[in-house]
């Protein structure tokens, strides 16, 4: 029991931190520009594929740096020459633009790398067990991924709190109109934020690629959950995004670990006999079986009871 709790916690935190790497960019872009970047997960996928391609040629360490930079530059170009033009036509146009972009990126990836998973491996320098606990190993690469994402979170927090750009970004989060009025080059900040945001998603891709699978549908698998993180965490709050990412990571991991069903909870009691008739369809369904839908349940609950999210600072 202790073993499963410990391993689940580690796995949950790692998954949560990967989510955070992506959600942090998404939430900042969403709060500042009002654009729900539907293609965010596609940049994560690009990060994984670039990471694969570069690490095959130059090694993993250059890939960890280069892939996010390249993806960040692509992101900036997309913002500068795509999103900014579309911006004039309102939010629906922007939404459609990023929606279309997901298909474009997916098709391009399929044209270049195909639909089958590519053989993206854990770098040999990190391919060992970090520690052995009870009967299982915990891979060093996962621990490394955890450290990188924690490091990035701290760096990001520092940048937002203590630099001039960070100041403006923070201001733009809560009062986007006012910042523009004060004469800052909001366009350039947007471009920068967009680039950094998708670059962070690419870091997540480079790390997640070897752990999970690198194939053309990986964006589709993670995309929906990102929006859950952003909504649950609340607009304009990096802390909220972190809390929501960890919450969702842990909820999903722990839910899988337990086989509790309504029958276990209420079986044998008088009320249980009645409930088992009324709830026959879900009576024996275990928490483990519904684990993947729990985040969405959380999303619905949050939207009903606290629409601004866990730590949101504004409603729209």
């Amino acid at each position: 029991m202790l073993e499963i709790i410990f391993v689940s916690t580690l796995n949950g935190v790692l998954y949560g931190m990967l989510l955070f790497l992506m959600a942090s960019g998404l939430t900042v872009i969403f709060s500042m520009m009002g654009v729900l970047n539907l293609a965010h997960a596609s940049f994560y996928m690009l990060g994984a594929f670039f990471g694969f391609e570069i690490s095959r040629r130059l090694g993993f360490w250059p890939a960890l740096v280069l892939a996010p930079v390249v993806v960040g530059l692509i992101g900036m170009a997309v913002e500068r020459y795509g999103l900014r033009r579309v911006h004039r036509h309102g939010h629906v146009a922007e939404l459609l633009f990023t929606f279309g972009l997901t298909f474009v990126i997916k098709e391009v990836v399929e044209m270049i790398w195909g639909k089958l998973p590519v053989d993206y491996r854990v770098p040999s320098g990190l391919d060992f067990a970090a520690f052995t606990l009870f009967s299982g190993n915990y891979p060093a690469f996962k621990l490394f991924g955890l450290l990188i994402s924690v490091g990035i979170f701290i760096g990001l927090l520092m940048a937002v709190r203590h630099t001039r750009v960070g100041l403006i970004v923070q201001a733009a989060l809560s009062h986007p109109g006012m910042v523009g009025m004060l004469g800052h080059n909001v366009d350039r900040i947007f471009m920068l934020v967009f680039g950094v945001g998708v670059g962070l998603a690419a870091v997540a891709g480079v790390i997640a690629g070897p752990i999970l699978v690198t194939q053309s549908n990986m964006a589709g698998l993670l995309g929906p959950i990102l929006f859950v993180v952003v909504v649950v965490g609340g607009l304009g709050s990096l802390g909220g995004a972190l809390a929501a990412s960890l919450l969702i990571g842990l909820v999903q991991t722990f839910a899988v670990a337990f086989n509790v069903s309504l029958a276990d909870l209420f079986g044998g009691t008088a009320a249980g006999a009645i409930l088992s008739v009324w709830l026959a369809d879900i009576w024996r369904v275990t928490v483990a079986q519904i684990a993947p839908i729990l985040p969405y349940l959380l999303l619905v609950m949050i939207l009903i009871f606290r629409p601004r999210g866990l730590m949101g600072t504004r409603d729209t």
Partner: protein, 415 residues
């Protein structure tokens, strides 16, 4: 001038269109309704590659009854509803032969749809060729005259696999993990039933159902398996659900033996190599590349030369198309109404090793020799590795056709 250009362009376009449709009239179109996007795409694409390869083979020999074969792909996203739309679309385009395999839930829907369509439209004669969906209901309660299956049903495979497993004396604790849909439940149910019967001393320490092609990180499941103390996993998982599961298990150093149906492709061999599970992963299927059978090696070699990243995942697809083309030639017609009777009871020297299999007329199930194999470093005389891993499949046991025969509850309605 402008009108001249305009009208000649129009004429040319019209000419081109008629030429194209004339060409289309000549080809024998076969509809491939399987996932070409989404979580199932990795295996759907392998099937498409193989089918195209087989079509090119027959076309190089002059086609079927003088007609060229053309494969038309319809993406069903592993979704039964979308599949029906796609099947309807294929029928509207004049296609009578539907090839579909991935997902038993999809196959049941397609088989139902095709059967009803034929009932309502006498003479439509659409046939469903199934190369991979193996939920036993397809050849029992829900069997149909218009449905043929070339893969051994889940019950047949599990029967053979448990016969193999029951000899393993160090096996004590089994964990069942399956995709949460009809097929996954059929596999886990059969495993439980047969194991308790054949090895009452073996304990089933876990039974897990997870959503189909939606999980990216299996490490929570692996942690649970680890905590259960299992020494063996039995799973019917396919595609990314198997590759990701093995990958997560490898990272956690999970020390168990694996008994699988579908470890042959879509990243699974890569994951097995990465996890260092040499000769620990067993699969049961109708053939592997390293069986030393000349004709198979020739065709497998040619296919892998063309699609080097995608190994032969479906040897049965060769059995299927070889038989269908043979039936068409024997009937002298490509209309399923004419060639379906020829398929019933047809015998075939199977693709992988040339041993004889046959299509049972009672339930349209193809019975064939099955092989249990493990993946490990290539040995002397083994030619084929999988997914460039340097590891190849090696025979562990073979099950002759007559030991795979199971009774059927099928009550077939014939037109």
């Amino acid at each position: 001038m402008r009108t001249l250009i305009g009208s000649s362009a129009l004429t040319l376009a019209l000419l081109g269109a008629t030429a194209l449709s004339a060409l289309a009239q000549d080809t024998l179109k076969i509809g491939y309704v399987d996932p070409l996007s989404g979580g199932g795409a990795s295996i759907g694409q392998i099937g498409m590659n193989q089918l195209n390869f087989i079509a090119d083979e027959i076309n190089a020999k002059g086609g079927v009854n003088g007609r060229k074969v053309e494969i038309v792909g319809y993406d069903n996203q592993t979704n039964p509803q979308i599949s029906l739309v796609q099947v309807q679309k294929a029928i509207d385009e004049g296609i009578q032969v539907i090839v579909q395999g991935n997902g038993s839930s999809v196959a049941v829907a397609v088989s139902d749809f095709v059967t009803k369509y034929n009932d309502r439209n006498p003479g439509a004669n659409v046939v469903h060729l199934n190369y991979a969906a193996i939920d036993p209901v397809l050849t029992n309660e829900k069997c149909s005259y218009w449905h043929f299956t070339w893969d051994a049903s889940a019950d047949i495979k599990m029967e053979a696999l448990t016969n193999f497993i029951k000899e393993k004396e160090d096996l004590k604790k089994v964990y069942l993990i399956a995709q949460d849909y009809s097929f996954g439940h059929a596999v886990a149910g059969a495993a439980k039933r047969m194991l308790t019967e054949k090895r009452p001393d073996v304990e089933i320490v876990g039974e897990e159902y997870h959503p189909l092609v939606k999980i990216t990180d299996f490490s929570p499941y692996v942690a649970k398996i680890q905590a259960s103390g299992a020494d063996t996993i039995i799973t019917g998982n396919w595609g990314q659900d198997l590759a990701l599961l093995i990958k997560a298990a490898g990272q956690a150093g999970l020390d168990v033996d694996w008994y699988t149906f579908y470890a042959g492709g879509a990243g699974a061999p890569t994951a097995i190599k990465q996890a260092g599970l040499e000769n620990r992963v067993y699969q049961i299927n109708e053939g592997i590349n390293n069986q030393g059978y000349g004709p198979a090696e020739e065709r497998a070699g040619a296919l892998m030369q063309r699609f080097s990243d995608a190994p032969i995942y479906y040897p049965r697809m060769f059995n299927m198309m070889d038989m269908v083309f043979k039936a068409m030639v024997e009937a002298g017609s490509e209309d399923p109404g004419d060639f379906v009777p020829k398929l019933e009871g047809m015998k075939l020297d199977s693709f992988a090793a040339g041993d004889e299999g046959f299509m049972r007329a009672d339930d349209h199930q193809f019975f064939q020799p099955l092989y249990i194999s493990t993946l490990g470093a290539l040995e002397e005389g083994q030619k084929f590795d999988e997914e460039h891993t340097g590891w190849g499949w090696k025979m562990a046991a073979s099950v002759p056709t007559e030991s795979t025969l199971l009774p059927t509850k099928c009550d077939m309605k014939r037109p």
